[in-house]
Amino acid sequence: MAQADAGARCRARAAGWSVTVAGCLAYGWWASGLAHFSPAASAAVLAPVGAVAAALALGASQRRAHRGTLRRVGCWMVLAAAALGLEAVALALGGRSRRWPSLSHLLDELTAPRPARSVAFATWLVLGALLARRSLGRPGAARWLRGRAGAR
């Protein structure tokens, strides 16, 4: 019985993620066709940013980091700082320099064709959905969602 329940939950989760990924791909295809620097392109990016910000604000409870976490993730912080520093230097030199290209310039060349661009956009959306989903699983958001369901 419990095994059947677990199987059903697993299938429901897989179906949910399939719908999310398909939706992200469709949204990415539409958004990647918008003219750059246009208000429509800004709105297409700012709408998911607002949705994820709302999800993060809802699930704003805080868990304490485990002891020793900083030491375990220290190297990743150094690597992230190195990448950010490199990107900042490249952007300060104009961003499109042949000698010091920014990461965004390299990615921009890779994603120039529309299919690649729409996949990149969909990947960005899925990362945002992961961030929002983890946050919505927190006690604060769960309480708020239960309250909304009870009000109906």
């Binding site: 990647s32 990016v45 980091a65 993730v73 290209p101 965004s104 529309r114 960005w124």
Partner: protein
Amino acid sequence: MPGEAAWIAVACAALAWEVAARRGRGHATFAEALSAAERARAGRALLFLLWAFAGYHLFVRYGVAPR
């Protein structure tokens, strides 16, 4: 070109670190590091800002027109 070599060096360092962490040297893998960052409010805010900046920078301000 020095810029591209620097990016390749960063990518290789990340890959080497991930392999070392998976072999159990007491360090966090990339997924564990993200999960740890996401646990604290400041880390979550930082991840969100990075994600939002990347989206705006790549898809609005910087990109070339699709072919």
